[in-house]
Subunit: 465 residues, 2 copies
């Protein structure tokens, strides 16, 4: 029988039993106690070590639980056969993996088209609503909720989409998710594989990448000033067309009713065809009424509508929504319902109150005015630039495009601006195919103040000649 | 040229231009203005209707934006050719879809094994942390963060997993996501298709279903009192073994070190083999130290570790984490990084503070004591029951299993309990294959008070005889 050569330190029971446990485990791992060897009884061990019997018992129980020893009735405790134990705890995980550190701020001015203005977010209201939602009487929110998202928030979104975007829907068609990427993933569960997806070029590249990673064959289809070419779409053999009819990203094209009709007809005429309508920033339009959604004109249940609060509230709140046409809603009930909702119920309730109580509308109105003002300042600046041949995508969204005259390449314009500390974005970043186009730069104005816009535009005027 | 027969109401400009816009749009949709027809100039229209020219201009601009009319330079405004317009806005979306209303509470007492005790959650602390996080100086949290999750929270989790669970990791291996379902989906991106996944039976059925929906072939492998049979695992031809070594759900088996070693050897010996270790509730153990993770014994980078705060904090907070072995971490950088993090940065920061400042540990200690007390009460109750042959899975987690004597079928025991208002759960719900086993019921005690447990157990004693 194995005898323990162990000197215990301290007096507390927990401490003592852990020392015994660690010692025996170590001895087994080091091979100093062989497989099958009998350990002293708890009574004997307690005597040997001068501890209580319950302390010895606790140590053995832990070793039993973890499988280092086994108890044979009426015989005692024996060491188990444990192979390759010398490996345990020896090697470290090896390779170091570089940690992503986020983008560094290296520009004086950054005309990023993907940021939003967070200076004017009503933080105090948001905080107040959180406080309210986290009150004691709402603790049912800590239980798991509906996989689609809370019905109360879905109804609120439903009302909003109906009124503001002309979407025709019932709350049961709305599915909330933590961001568009996730919803694209979820959608792929409902669609299954084998679809060919057509997107415009240039387009929202991130969505294109995600679809590719999800295993879909993606084709690019050219666009004219009305949006996606339906003729080319037909030739592409695609089953799904991904479009942004209210405000194409990045070109800013608003798809006119005729092209919408052609697109809807294309979808209606083929089995299993769908249109994905990404309505990512339709809230921001600085002249006239908002452009109604394409979904609202669809009478054949072919449009999958996807929207987000990333632009209208904040990128970090991670709440987006799908509005499914009925055939896909049935698929959802079969294959999608089992995926739990990815948005916390607390966040859902806060957003619901934010919308229900009019804060959202007020915030949108305020932001619309602010963005319009920034937009006007930028427009006034660039209109005077000799190097700018044409301005595209104005009066909507939070960026404009400048078609430049041909004296300098797109690349060189970007580079000169960068050297002077101003970051502007080349259209080529959004182009998926190799089609030729005129040198064009993209200027987002959401994150900059009006003063910064003026200063940055001044620099561009200088370096672009 | 078309002449407008329109009587305007009211005086406000917005109102007036909308009336003109709606009228013209309606006339085009109804076919009363034909394609190619010329509309009056804005000057003329303003005269005809007695409005300002800018009002007329606004109405036309909206019609232009939406593509109902087009402007031909030096000629005027013409109605576009728009096909099938009569369809627009006519049909409604049709079928009604039944809305999921949530589970009704129809039992006096519910021994649900999936709930947790939310009575004792430190809501005031949670609220305080939210308030702090939502302070003005932290508004960078409203920008989009790292796709893996905030590095600060990942480091905090890293430390916790290392100390409490013996996981060997760097923060770069941790990926946060909104719940296990999402992380299984994300993991499937990294793994790709073609894997065969082995799970025990009975098992955590939800994970099984999700893997099936993700397109994986799933096999069940029987288990003995040490956990998954490695012999059967080999024969199954599976590449991935999904196990819960610290506390198998629902059987409560703790996998001993020998079986762990065999499993790790199985994984190390085949190209591309992995073990998914679901460590869902290892925090709750009521005797002895916690059982270390399997991942901590893996020296071949074969274990994918997945954990959650659903049990330890609340199901609704939607924060889970993957710890990836290095080969999959490389795959993540290639194919997973583009999926934005699904957890809001606010929630991440709140959780980080909750852990860093010791609240999490205190909460766990409190809950461990509370659950242990409930556990002891339930155990004392069921030990006296004649119909209970054996108790399984005690001293850990938040449920126990009762192996019943053979006088009554599992089904009948469940039914009798239900008739008396007590919901208990059959083991058969967790069984995927058709293997036979003794009648067994599952009793979760997390959501009930001690008094409720006593009363409910009293009813069971009566109806089970």
């Amino acid at each position: 029988m194995y005898e323990m050569m162990l000197r215990l330190e301290g007096k507390r029971e927990r401490n003592l039993y852990e020392q015994i446990y660690e010692y025996v485990k170590g001895e087994i791992q080091r091979g100093n106690i062989r497989c099958g060897e009998r350990l002293p009884s708890t009574r004997l061990l307690a005597q040997q070590l001068g501890v209580s019997r319950s302390t010895a018992q606790l140590a053995y129980e832990q070793l039993l639980s973890e499988g280092y020893i086994e108890a044979v009735p009426c015989k005692g405790y024996f060491v188990c056969q444990v192979e390759e134990l010398y490996d345990l705890g020896q090697r470290e995980s090896g390779g170091e993996v570089r940690e992503w550190k986020g983008e560094e701020k290296k520009w004086l001015y950054d005309f990023t088209p993907s940021g939003i203005d967070l200076e004017h977010f009503p933080y105090s209201v948001w905080r107040k609503l959180y406080r309210e939602v986290l009150q004691d009487d709402q603790r049912e929110l800590f239980h798991l909720g509906d996989a689609k998202g809370e019905i109360s928030l879905r109804e609120t979104i439903c009302q909003y989409l109906h009124q503001a975007r002309g979407v025709r829907l019932q709350a049961s068609q709305v599915i909330l998710g933590a961001g568009n990427d996730y919803l694209q993933m979820l959608l792929s569960r409902m669609l299954g594989t084998g679809y060919r997806i057509a997107m415009e070029s240039p387009t929202y590249r991130h969505a294109y990448d995600i679809f590719q990673r999800l295993g879909y064959e993606c084709r690019t289809v050219s666009m004219d000033r009305y949006g996606m070419s339906v003729e080319e779409l037909r030739l592409s053999g695609a089953d799904i067309a991904y479009v942004m009819p209210s405000h194409q990203y990045p070109m800013g094209v608003v798809m006119p009713i005729k092209r919408r009709q052609e697109l809807l007809q294309w979808a209606a005429k083929g089995e299993g065809r769908y249109i994905i309508e990404d309505d990512y920033d339709s809230e921001f339009r600085y002249g006239g009424k908002p452009i109604p959604s394409l979904q609202g004109s669809d009478s054949h249940q072919r449009v999958i509508y996807i929207g987000t609060f990333s632009k209208s509230i904040a990128p970090s709140i991670r709440i987006s929504y799908l509005v499914l046409p009925l055939p896909l809603l049935e698929r959802y009930e079969q294959v999608g319902r089992s995926f739990s909702c990815t948005v916390s119920r607390t966040d859902q309730r806060v957003l619901q109150y934010f919308m229900e109580r009019g804060y959202f509308e007020r915030h949108l109105n305020k932001m619309r005015a602010l963005y319009k003002s920034k937009h006007d300042v930028l427009l006034a600046e660039v209109k005077g630039m000799k190097s700018v041949r044409r301005i595209l995508g104005e009066r909507s969204g939070v960026h404009i495009l400048l078609q430049m005259n041909g004296e300098m390449s797109e690349e060189e314009r970007i580079l000169r601006a960068e050297q002077a500390g101003v970051k502007v974005y080349p259209l080529s970043e959004y182009c998926i195919d190799q089609r030729r186009y005129e040198p064009t730069v993209i200027l987002g104005y959401a994150t900059m103040t009006e003063e910064e816009i003026q200063k940055a535009a001044g620099i561009l005027r200088e370096v672009w000649g």
